[in-house]
């Protein structure tokens, strides 16, 4: 029988390649090879189809550093990752403190989760209409402000839009991170909280000494998910800050918008080489941030 099982094991090993190969070849062909190609093309000067790439070394990156649009893109992306991330996680922590033993908590979670399955383009347009500044025909938010006698605000003006996008981002993503963290909080044995209650712990103390240490690993994973999600923010900014068909003002750009504008955006002549260089910056940034985050979050796991 063991021999039969052994033969069977060998037969199963033979299945490996036919099962694994289709997926991995698509993955390599459509994801890895283009990524490597982008890295190589980032060091070339290349206008796009019809032009041949010429190797120019680090010239693209020097040009990126010198250009205002790239500086805005880079700083905005960093802002969305850091400020948006801190805001989202603070909100999620606050919700975990309250939702843990609140009645109707499951319903609240389901409602808060909903924006996550709405297309970012649709979210962007929704906010674009709601936040519009147009005297006498204000969007919803300015309508409410004016009905309270407060002056309407030009939310979508280039100097404000970055913060408005940050707010929208936090609102839209909070539900996802609340759900992840709550799934982890639900696994914490309730007697720990009961003990803490008997000892007279405040909600903050319970959060600091029970919830935080026992969900630390999940927070780490959620942080990585946030980073790889926030680095590619594109549609939301593109439609919220701009007229939709062509790029918004450069003060609101993200790296994703920069790459799109320099390659497929309709305004101006394309510069594929520069777009690839900016894409290389995106990969480098996401790798550095994820590695940093993993380092920061590393510690001995707590058994419970």
């Amino acid at each position: 029988m063991t021999a039969a099982l052994g033969a069977h094991k060998a037969g199963r090993r033979r299945l490996f390649l036919p099962f694994f190969l289709p997926a991995v070849s698509l993955y390599v062909l459509f994801l890895l090879v283009p990524t490597v190609a982008t890295v190589v093309l980032g060091f070339t000067s290349w206008a796009g189809a019809g032009d041949t790439p010429r190797f120019t070394g680090l010239a693209n990156f020097g040009e990126l550093l010198a250009s205002d649009s790239f500086r805005f893109s880079f700083l905005n992306t960093l802002l969305y990752i850091v400020v948006g991330g801190v805001g989202t996680f603070l909100l999620a922590f606050l919700f975990t403190m309250v939702l843990r033993d609140m009645r109707g908590g499951k319903t609240v979670r389901a409602i808060l989760f909903f924006p996550n399955i709405v297309a970012p383009v649709a979210l962007g347009m929704f906010f674009g209409i709601v936040l519009i500044f147009r005297p006498n025909r204000q969007g919803l938010v300015n309508f409410v402000l004016e009905s309270f006698g407060i002056d309407a605000v030009k939310f979508l003006a280039p100097e404000n839009v970055t913060w408005v996008v940050t707010g929208c981002l936090i609102w839209a993503s909070a539900g996802f991170y609340i759900t992840i963290l709550m799934a982890a909080v639900d696994r914490i044995p309730p007697y720990l909280y009961e003990d803490a209650d008997i000892a007279g712990a405040s909600p903050w103390q319970k959060f600091r000494n029970i919830t935080l240490p026992l969900t630390w690993d999940v927070i780490g994973v959620a942080g990585v998910l946030w980073t790889i999600g926030a680095i590619k923010i594109f549609e939301l900014v593109f439609v919220l800050a701009g007229p939709g068909t062509y790029s918004p003002p450069i003060q609101s750009w993200t790296l994703g918008v920069y790459v799109f504008d320099r390659s497929f955006g309709t305004a101006g002549s394309p510069e594929y080489g520069m777009a690839c260089a900016a894409a290389v910056v995106m990969i480098a940034l996401v790798s550095v941030l994820v590695v940093m985050l993993r380092r920061m979050m590393r510690r001995d796991s707590v058994q419970f």
């Binding site: 029988m1 099982l5 069977h8 094991k9 037969g11 199963r12 299945l15 490996f16 036919p18 694994f20 997926a23 698509l26 993955y27 062909l29 459509f30 994801l31 890895l32 283009p34 189809a49 919700f95 309250v98 609240v108 409602i111 808060l112 909903f114 709405v118 297309a119 383009v121 649709a122 347009m125 929704f126 519009i132 147009r134 025909r137 919803l140 309508f143 799934a183 982890a184 309730p190 909280y193 209650d197 405040s202 909600p203 999940v218 994973v221 998910l225 790889i228 680095i231 590619k232 439609v239 068909t245 062509y246 994703g256 790459v259 799109f260 390659s263 777009a275 995106m282 996401v286 790798s287």
Partner: protein
Amino acid sequence: MTVTAPRVPKPTVPPRVAPRRPRPAPGSRGLSPLRLLGMAFVWLFTAFNILVLYWLLTATFKTPIEIFTKPFALPYQWFERGDPFRNIIYAWSNAGFGRAFLVTVVLVAVSSVAIVLVSAPAAYALTRLGVRGSNGLTNFIAIGMGIPFQTVVIPLFIGMAKLNLTNSLFGMFLVYVALSIPFTVFLLTGFFRSLPDELEEAASIDGASPLRTFFSIMLPLARGGLITALILNAIGLWNETLLALVFLNENANFTLARALFSFYGAASYQSEYGGLIAGVAIVVLPMLVLYVLLARRIITGLTLGAGK
């Protein structure tokens, strides 16, 4: 004395009730002002989300004037003119959402099925066949989830253009299937890993071939995971915009998100806000229906990777 004394308090003892969940200790429910403030905030946030949905649903049936001057009222102007579905009809036929809807439904359905068909055997091979290095290979594929699409889109576009696969729905299908593989394989490895070993052994003792074991034992067992993968990919592709923006540039091939994107500029220029919001609703509502029906599966599926 010792006999009668216990008899006296007996009637005051309440009848025993079924075991209940332990009562929260004093101070944990409703008492602290901080907690009340927190709960008020949570409910306010939730109410705001519902208000957003209400605004979207009502605005779909409003004229632009109503949208901006009576944002909270129920729609009435189009109803008075006997044309309540005017916005939806405008978006559906004049702005090309009708065709885009059909294209999207077919493209999303075919792509999601293909993604699962390609990913399920791979996830099975990585978790169940006991091949050395499987963990490393799983990580190698999972890394793909961290690559932003912006970094692959330029070479991919050039390559696909050489093969005449740009501005073609078949090309779009290929790109969607390939780029969804990392997430789907990663999701499904979790499901296959949780299945018990004994069933496979029993099948092999009964003389089932490895291939048959996969198709008639393991796939049915992992059905829950496969359906979750199907739904999550369908949602993701339904909402996908960047790739559609790059690879499709003819109205006839537009997906819904792509059509909405193109319509935005024209609609806001002509103040066609009614049609625009109807377009947003056409993109959002099918997902809302799906979500209401399958909220639990969608939420657990999407948060699975992080919780494990």
